[in-house]
């Protein structure tokens, strides 16, 4: 508790508060503008943090993270276009409510729903994190290896119907992580005589190439979306009633839990949680017919869960060193840049820093609430920022970011290569997330596998004889095999029924 209070004290230092405020505003803009998102904002901020202190860096990164997830509902409500994938379900009821002349209420529900989800999830996550980290300390390299494999399998399993493409992406990520010196013996791999590759593929270059350059190039080639103008005269006051929340406590609670759980699972961030939560709220509601027509329950379900997922994603990141989504993958990279290793020992060795991340998320959520309530009337202006200026700034920042990350011009070439690879994957329908996750976990997978085999005389068998490791491996196998096998059984059953009917 003393560490938590000390961490909150750091978060409330004036300089950190100012940086947090600036990045929360930037995050809201990134979240609100379709085509941009918080992860992109974090990847642009990463190079800037090299020259800053740990506290200042995390105030900026967490501010961008919180603002980015929250801001997504703005264009969802005003235009019916989600600013980020995490606000897709918000469109279903937010926009119809706005069209009925209740824009202020829809925005108010989004703002307060986001706040409730974020604050409660971060509080729960900070309590759970210590327990999970203590449990994780009892695990050996065998369990960690299986856990990493399980994390990648769960993400691959999201590529339903095109499992081979998901696994292919993970294999590419694994091979990219092999570039450079091997983690145990220090042998050079896949450097092709290029000394610049000895240090491996830079995480910043990979993230900027995959998420920023390729997205901007694709968006330009497809034509930037033309957003319609919105009249701000309808937006007055807070707009929400206390009854909107008291009559939907069940939905708020279930969305919070769904968001936390989905955020906790690797790779399944707020983009999935808002859809699952919305569907759950609709299926359990007394008035499912009202969903899609502008009901408060639908907006709350989506906004509470997508913000709760950010809290959930922090648990595996800090307690296990495994990112819950792309944004936490970038936060993990930031921890590495600042000489910290996320994992069960982090809370023991750097308790204030660990809780500081939760603290910045909490203070950031409060700032988001205040800023959004105050500037609600001017939200339509955010959507009028011209893409040609926004994208130009982002492009220049990407090139500088990749250069400053390693202080080598070659890193920009690597970023371009990754951008082309991401475009090729996009046109082939190969998902990017398994590649990123496998790249991040690749080195750990190899380290744990080889350590596990060195520490025991039983070789590979040890991974299957230790119960926790076996459970993780079984979950991994089930997540890959079930989606492939299920249709075969269903098909067989269907054809039998068809024959019987015939």
């Amino acid at each position: 508790m003393a560490d938590y209070i000390a961490a909150l004290g750091v978060c409330l230092e004036p300089m950190n508060l100012v940086l947090l405020f600036i990045c929360v505003v930037a995050g809201i803009i990134f979240g609100a503008v379709p085509g941009l998102n918080g992860s992109l904002g974090i990847s642009l901020l990463l190079p800037i943090t090299f020259g800053l202190s740990q506290n200042a860096s995390f105030s900026m990164l967490c501010g961008m993270y919180v603002g980015g997830v929250s801001g997504g509902f703005i264009s969802a409500v005003l235009l019916g276009i989600p600013g980020t994938p995490s606000a897709i379900a918000t469109c279903y009821d937010g926009h119809p409510m706005s069209q009925k002349g209740e824009t202020s209420r829809a925005l108010g529900l989004g703002i307060i729903g986001s706040f409730i989800g974020e604050v409660l999830a971060v509080l729960i996550a900070s309590a759970l994190c210590t327990i999970i980290a203590d449990l994780a300390l009892m695990l050996g390299p065998w369990e960690y290896f299986s856990l990493c494999i399980c994390a990648i399998s769960l993400v691959v399993a999201l590529s339903k119907g095109r499992m081979a493409k998901g696994i292919m992406a993970a294999a590419i990520g694994l091979l990219l992580s092999c570039v450079g010196l091997d983690p145990i013996t220090g042998c050079a791999r896949f450097t092709f005589g290029n000394k610049a590759l000895t240090g491996g593929i830079d995480m910043t270059a990979l993230m900027l190439g995959a998420y920023a350059l390729s997205q901007i190039a694709k968006s330009y080639a497809k034509g930037n979306p033309k957003l319609q103008a919105f009249d701000s005269r309808n937006i007055k006051g807070i707009g929400v009633r206390l009854k909107d929340f008291t009559s939907n406590i069940k939905t708020i609670f279930s969305s919070l839990m769904i968001g936390l759980w989905i955020g906790f699972l690797p790779g399944m961030g707020s983009a999935l949680s808002n859809m699952v939560s919305y569907s759950f709220a609709k299926s359990t509601s007394k008035h499912p017919e009202k969903f899609g027509t502008g009901c408060a329950e639908g907006i709350l379900a989506s906004e509470v869960s997508n913000n709760a997922a950010t809290g959930g994603a922090l648990i595996p990141m800090i307690a296990l060193g495994i990112p819950g989504d792309s944004a936490t993958a970038l936060l993990l990279a930031a921890l590495t840049i600042h000489g910290l290793t996320a994992g069960p020992l982090m809370i023991q060795q750097h308790p204030v820093t660990s809780y500081m991340i939760f603290g910045f998320m909490l203070v950031g959520a409060v700032l988001v609430l205040i800023i959004e309530l105050v500037v609600k009337r001017w939200f339509p202006y955010i959507l009028r920022i011209p893409y040609h200026y926004l994208y130009t700034i982002i492009l220049v920042m990407c090139f500088i970011g990749s250069f400053t990350s390693t202080n080598m011009g070659f890193n920009m070439v690597v970023m371009l290569f990754i951008a082309v690879l991401a475009l090729l994957m996009d046109m082939s329908g190969v998902p990017m997330t398994p590649l990123v996750l496998a790249f991040i976990l690749g080195e750990k997978i190899e380290e744990y596998l080889r350590k596990g085999m060195t520490y025991s005389s039983e070789g590979f068998a040890m991974f299957f004889t230790r119960p926790v490791s076996l459970i993780f491996l079984l979950v991994a196998a089930a997540s890959i095999l079930l989606p492939v096998l299920k249709p075969l059984f269903t098909k067989g059953k269907l054809s039998k029924e068809w024959v019987a009917d015939d």
């Binding site: 092999c178 042998c187 896949f190 190039a217 080639a221 034509g223 202080n407 082939s428």
Partner: protein, 149 residues
């Protein structure tokens, strides 16, 4: 027969697997005491990539159209500009290449929208000078100097 994007990507991956496979054989292996060595993970990755590529190559394609002809041209122009900016940063440095790149990117990305030339000029100057001072003076981080200077 028109080759679908996913099949083409699979063929590229198979080609990469062949190159990487021969390269993996040249990795020095200093493994001892039960350590499977530095070649294990690369071989595993290559095997998985090869199998997945073959599955995609011989199964029904679900790849959809990506861009029209004009879109492809725009994509190539944008990528070309990015390559030129990279070369500019490496050889000419930040202060020379960035204003040119900012102007070109604004011109490209504006498409059919009208751009106020004064705002664009302010953007070119502001972004270059602002970023330069922010990184070099504010954070003490060096920006590309240019090999030619």
């Amino acid at each position: 027969m028109k080759l679908k994007y996913d099949k083409l990507f699979s063929l590229l991956c198979l080609l990469a697997v062949v190159v990487l496979f021969f390269n993996t054989g040249t990795i020095r292996d200093l493994a001892s005491n039960g350590d499977p060595g530095a070649r294990l993970i690369p071989y595993l990755g290559e095997a998985v990539l090869c199998i997945c590529s073959l599955i995609i190559l011989f199964s029904k394609s679900d790849s959809t159209s990506f861009l029209d002809k004009a879109g492809w041209l725009k994509l190539l122009i944008m990528l070309g500009c990015m390559v030129l900016y990279t070369l500019g940063l490496i050889y000419l440095g930040f202060l020379i290449s960035t204003p040119i790149a900012v102007a070109v990117f604004i011109y490209l990305l504006k498409e059919d929208e009208k751009v106020n030339p004064i705002v664009a000029l302010l953007m070119v100057a502001g972004l270059t000078v602002g970023l330069y001072f922010m990184f070099t003076k504010g954070f003490s981080i060096l920006l590309p100097q240019g090999k030619l200077f």
